[in-house]
């Protein structure tokens, strides 16, 4: 149940938030693998990374970055958005074989 110490091979992905837009808006990750996502907020205001599909919720303060772990996930498309700017800050984590 408890997570093992972070292994060197845990894949790391980066998401950048700038002008209330996530980049890349489609983050491709491999299936059945736990991954670490570092979210960097380049804006002057805080934002909350939120995803009902991934069951994740994390405030990222202005000019800061924060990490979250997701997975292992089956193949599929998982939506995420910025809770404070849901119209512009939107994206998907796409879990697919090709990203291996």
């Amino acid at each position: 149940m408890f997570a093992r110490p972070a292994l060197a091979e845990t894949p790391i992905y980066r998401l950048v938030l700038e002008n209330h837009v996530f980049s890349p808006s489609k983050l491709r990750i491999p299936p059945n693998t736990k991954v670490k996502i570092i979210i960097e907020n380049k804006d002057e205001t805080a934002e909350e990374f939120d995803s009902f599909d991934l069951n994740r919720e994390r405030v990222i303060f202005a000019q800061r970055e924060a990490s979250i772990f997701i997975g292992p996930l089956p193949i599929g498309r998982y939506e995420f958005f910025g809770e404070y700017h849901p119209n512009s800050a939107r994206g998907y984590v796409i879990v697919e074989e090709e990203s291996l």
């Binding site: 997570a3 972070a6 736990k34 009902f52 069951n55 800061r64 772990f69 997701i70 997975g71």
Partner: protein, 262 residues
């Protein structure tokens, strides 16, 4: 803007209203609602909310960036434990201890939820043209929360008055289980426990993103796609106190009857 603020209002502040609806109906025999305690709790809540709001950015950096998740999980567990203790073992705790545990729980829970809302409010307060929309949304959100609480208080009071206290406590422990179950998401988010795939999905029926989803989440901890750990923790934290409460109440009733016969 308005609908988003209302949703955040429901997510962050509705659980506080629900908690107060239960507490105000509960026969826990404390002097907590005396003038002095009311003042102390109000001041404590304002101070704690501001303190958490001001320090959240720094808390998020501690424990290798896991500070918010760890402190929130610890607070939720403390609140669950305290409220279960004072509900189940009411007569075994002194009035002072009950008041203290209840007071700390109310302040902690209210402050954490309110501080999250203040962060959102702070972001939009920076743009003066957003203020009218936010104020309208806050009035709407407050109206929804107050209406919801009045209705819930009426239902809860009817349950107690009609002798259906098992249903009252069933709903109460479901609310508490829903709150403490969030620990699973918090800890798996920062890799302290492993994540698990969802067992089933009710997303098509009631989405967590919908207003109903938010209200049910606040009321009973509804999750549209729960995993086995969430379900396990929910069932334990719901059933264990409910069974204990039923057992303790039955023992009290039989002791009372025996005392009357003698």
């Amino acid at each position: 803007m308005i609908s988003n603020t209302v949703v955040i209002f429901l997510r962050d502040l509705l659980p506080i209203f629900i908690l107060f609806a239960y507490i105000s109906n509960m026969p826990i025999n404390t002097n907590l609602f005396s003038h002095f305690w009311k003042k102390l709790i109000s001041v404590g809540t304002v101070v704690a909310t501001l303190l958490i709001y001001v320090t959240t950015e720094y808390i998020s950096e501690i424990f290798e960036g896991r500070g918010i998740e760890l402190s929130s999980a610890a607070a939720l567990i403390f609140v669950w434990l305290s409220l279960v203790l004072i509900t189940v073992f009411t007569q075994f705790l002194t009035s002072g201890l009950r008041a203290l545990l209840l007071g700390i729980s109310l302040v902690l829970f209210t402050a954490i939820q309110s501080a999250e809302f203040l962060i959102y409010f702070g972001v939009f307060a920076q743009y003066s043209d957003n203020l009218p929309s936010i104020l309208i949304a806050c009035i709407l959100g407050l109206g929804i929360c107050i209406s919801f609480t009045v209705l819930l208080r009426f239902i809860l009071s009817e349950l107690l008055l009609s002798g259906r206290s098992v249903f009252f406590y069933g709903l109460w422990f479901a609310f508490l289980a829903g709150q403490v179950s969030q620990v699973i998401g918090l800890l798996s988010q920062v890799d302290i426990i492993d994540d698990a795939p969802a067992l089933f999905s009710l997303q098509a029926l009631i989405s967590n993103a919908s207003e109903y989803g938010h209200a049910l989440h606040a009321l009973i901890g509804y999750e549209s796609s729960p995993n086995v750990r969430l379900i396990g923790l929910y069932l334990i934290t719901f059933l264990l106190p409910l069974l204990l409460k039923i057992l303790v109440d039955r023992q009290d009733q039989s002791a009372y009857r025996e005392g009357n016969q003698k």
